[in-house]
Symmetry: C6
């Protein structure tokens, strides 16, 4: 895939490598060690965005990645991403990527090939942190994705507890020295909406949404927030093409 | 009925055979083994869409099907579908289709002609999976429909339990090697809406809706999401005609 | 009153006889044995529609009817309907119509002239089914109206129980061999709305609503759903005139 | 005040005598013995409308009236209505009107001059019916007003109980042989709204509302429902003038 | 400050003295002994309006006033109102005004200079009435303000209790022979809204709101209701200037 | 950074020093000792606004500040603010600024360099007041920021308790003699909204929001309320530039 410039791993910023995105991020990328919330509706390309981030990191910037999946089965993700020309299995073999599977398919322990697995119901904060750390150690990761974060927060019905749990997670992600994406599910479809509590806690928030413009559905990318960086917060069109996500930082979205 | 091209059963994709739909699905069809949510309001043609999918599978692609019905009585479905020229009873006789009846009409066990029946109140996940497997075995099915999935999920008042139950169902449907449709009831009528939690869990989401355009109600088909396939996500007009559902992939819907 | 063509009682379809309606119902009428939900706001003509359906059945198609009333007192209905020229008492005398009164006026048993009465608080499913069957037997009915169904469903605060109760009612109505209308109260006035759960369970749904068009309130009739029949689902204007409900199937409603 | 034609007390209809209203009521008035809900926001003239109805009844049609007040103190109502030139005290002296005071001012029993009083907290159905009957007997009333009905229904937190209580009230009001207005408080200000459950139970519903048209607030009168009468259901402008409420049945309200 | 005409204390009406307001109140003022709700959003000038009402009463009409404050500290109010040229401390010295402080600043009893103080948590109806009466006696008040009433009503979580408490308060305020303002906090910002229950209980309702007109925020004054007076209920622009609140009764507010 | 005029510490007003803001505040600044709520969505610049306020106070007006952080880690804030050219660590060394860290990173007590730290779960009113006082003493502060106040109020699920807690906090902040900002999180994105209860309790309210104007997102600054000062309450555009927040008091925001 096309990537932006090659960066030195000790840089202050972590380029996503997703076309158009780093330009919106002041031409630099995500501030190192930050955790960014990526919110979108079904079919908005959240998983593609997250995988692309890890793929570029592994192939272009020598940064390994950990993908914690709660929704999709790793085999499905591998198959789906092949269409973009991304051979994830190859990366796993090179220890540039590891999947932590918290999705419903339970494979017997003997079949463990580059996969770490735990059951859904034991999925609480402690467990999540353990497996993240374990995965980070295994491939010396610099990039982590948790997809989606919703299942995790839903385990805490009490609002204050949920905020504490999220803050603890963010604090521990900080200690990993990785730059992280937490994938989140948007509740509704309208332009106006209620903010989800995690938007106030993470260091950044990216929105992937779809709106009707004239008579066409248009995909709209927007960096709502990014601490430590003067970003372009305007909504920009994006596409999911044969090469993955592509954002158009110079184009406008009319409403 | 009119169908698309004939496919080899080992293909990666399962054509729906519903006019216009496979073109929107990148010209291929549903990715094999995927479970897709079909959401629509009352009278939107959800059941017709689902039966059409099984009918084409049985008559054109040598793929048998299982229809789990929670709403309509199988006799009603048979009668209703005759109007489209689809003789379901013939398919049942050829073991190309089997109905699993979880709808209110209870027929005495001796009358069991191609029908499997269970009572509503015992309708929990375990039972649902058993009868699906039993039906799949009975006709060596490759296509499964559950219509509607709402009753099933309503049995779990706790949100987290509901998500687990749905994920377990999806995981087990995976093991059947079938390509499946789960029919779901949309809550409201407006263009903007809140997403239902199942939209985030299934591999695909298709919407069948109705909107006022100028002064006419227009039926609108939309593939909101389809993992593993670069689909056309634009809203397209569709009709329920004498031959079933027909989508117009090249037409626009003005709002 | 004006009626459509005269039908043979063994026909697949049951003409409503309400001007304009059967044309919208593919020129035929309601599919025999179906139960259709008729939803409308206060003053929309729901009761008039229901009585007109029974009146035409009795006077034109030799089909007796049962009217289960939960809101209005039978004497009031008789008085109100005289204005349209419909002599209901005459039909009751001919055993072509019977009222089941579950409304608040309690008349002493000795005054029982063509009236069956039960108290409101004992009004649960079992009781409802009993009195329906009893009324159907009494006049050998082919048409049944329950007006409104809301009180019945309200008795079940739990959502799943309510769905089961409604499904049981629909299943038992099926066994009566009658073609039935369940009258329901719409919650709000706007064009966009949330669907009521019964709309997904009945075989058909008819909406009677009122909207502001230009500066006039216009009455709008719409068949939202009708299984087994390719209906015209467009909104059409209707009026409540001196002769009852009259729908205009060829006219448009501008929004 | 100006009144319509003089009617014979045994007529089928009870003219309100409020200018413009009876014309909207098919030129006749309220069907005798009916109970009509009058809904409006604060300042819409609900109380004025109700008093005008009783005043005309007493002075023009020889029909005495009972006014059950839950909000306003009878002395206040007397003072307020003097401005329209209506001397209520004179009517009370002639036993053409009686106030039942369920409002907060408690006057010692010895001061009882044409006033019946009960405490708020004992205000349940039984009590309400007793005092209504007592008042009706006292002046041989033909018209009854309960203002507002909201306090009464609020005493029943359970929805089904509330409906039963309202139905019992309506049933007992029927037995009084009076023609009644129940005053109700609208919850919101918009054109679109959710119906209140009482609108489905009473025999008629009148709305008194206020909307912004161009840049002016316009008062809008509308008969939403009236069983047994072919009314004009269009919204019509009205005013609260020096002579009370005045509706303009031939004028339009633009939105 | 500028005031309207000087009135005789035994008049039927109590002029507010706020420029433009009395003209809207039929040129007279508030009906004596009435309690009027003044609702507005934050920054709408509710407190200024209330103080202006008491200030004019004290300086122009020889009517002393009581100000029950739940939000602002009396010292703050004094300081803030100096900007309009209103020396409240002087009025307090002349016993023309007294503050009842139920706000958070607790001053030791020895510092009691023209101040009556009670703690927040003991603030229930009985206590409120006591301190109002005590204040009214102390300065022989004719005008009372409670700012805001929200804290008082919030103490009653049960809706029926809240209505009773408010009615009791209104009844007791009646006995004081004063003309009163209860300040209330509007929940939302839109033109359309849900009515607060107190709007139905008080004898009058005044709204102070802010809307976007063209591209400017405009302050809008509106008398929604005033029993016993034929008021102008149109929305009128107002300003908060160096001299306090000023309403423009002849101007229009375009929406 | 650019600042307004230099003020004498004993002035009645505290200039924010944020370009454009003091002009909107009648050319003066925040009334001394007032507590002002600053509400905004994620990415609106709330933290930047708050730091800028303390930075200007320390460097231009000889007023030290305390920053109570519940969200961001002090090290992050230091790093982020360096981009604007604000060296916070230098100010801390000069005892012109102190951070109170209630955010998730727990640093061992021995690492305490200019930092005061407490755990999240012990964060109740008492604790908050203690640490504020402690910080105010430590640097003889005149400006305090609590960012955000939301976590604090969420600890009180009961609405009345929450109001009391907030009032107690405001009362105690009063005693510190500081001029304070409480940062708050707006719930939704639309122009119309529901007010948060704190808006009614603080002496001022500032809104930082983002709206779509034409096809661009525009940042909108608005002083909704400021007691004791005749402010310009019009919405004004603002930007987050390389120099921090900059408001344009003479420009208009079109909607």
């Amino acid at each position: 895939m096309r990537s932006e410039r090659v960066f030195d791993v000790s840089s202050e910023y972590v380029p996503t490598g997703i076309p158009g995105v780093d330009k919106i991020l002041a031409g630099k990328g995500l501030p190192r060690n930050h955790t960014v919330l990526v919110c979108g509706g079904p079919g908005s390309g959240k998983t593609t965005f997250a995988i692309q981030y890890l793929y570029v990191g592994a192939t272009q910037h020598n940064e390994s990645g950990v993908y914690v999946t709660l929704d999709e089965e790793p085999n499905d993700i591998r198959a789906n991403m092949l269409k973009y020309g991304w051979d994830l299995q190859a990366l796993e073999a090179e220890h540039k990527l590891v999947f932590i599977n918290v999705s419903p398919v339970r494979i017997a322990p003997t079949e463990r090939t580059g996969l770490i697995q735990i059951g859904m119901k034991e999925f609480r904060l402690i467990k999540l942190l353990e497996v993240i750390r374990s995965g980070v150690e295994e491939v010396d990761a610099k990039r982590v994705v948790v997809d989606p974060i919703t299942i995790f927060t839903l385990q805490y019905p009490d609002e204050v507890e949920r905020i504490h749990a999220m803050r603890d997670l963010l604090r521990d992600l900080r200690k990993t020295d990785c730059t992280n994406l937490l994938i989140s599910e948007l509740r509704g479809t309208g332009w106006e909406r209620e903010h989800q509590f995690e938007e106030y806690l993470t260091q950044g928030v990216i929105l992937l949404r779809t709106f009707l413009r004239d008579s066409r559905l248009t995909r709209v990318f927007q960096v709502e927030k990014m601490r430590g960086l003067a970003i372009d917060n305007q909504p920009r069109p994006y596409e999911i093409s044969m090469r993955g996500i592509e954002v158009y930082p110079n184009a406008t979205v009319y409403k």
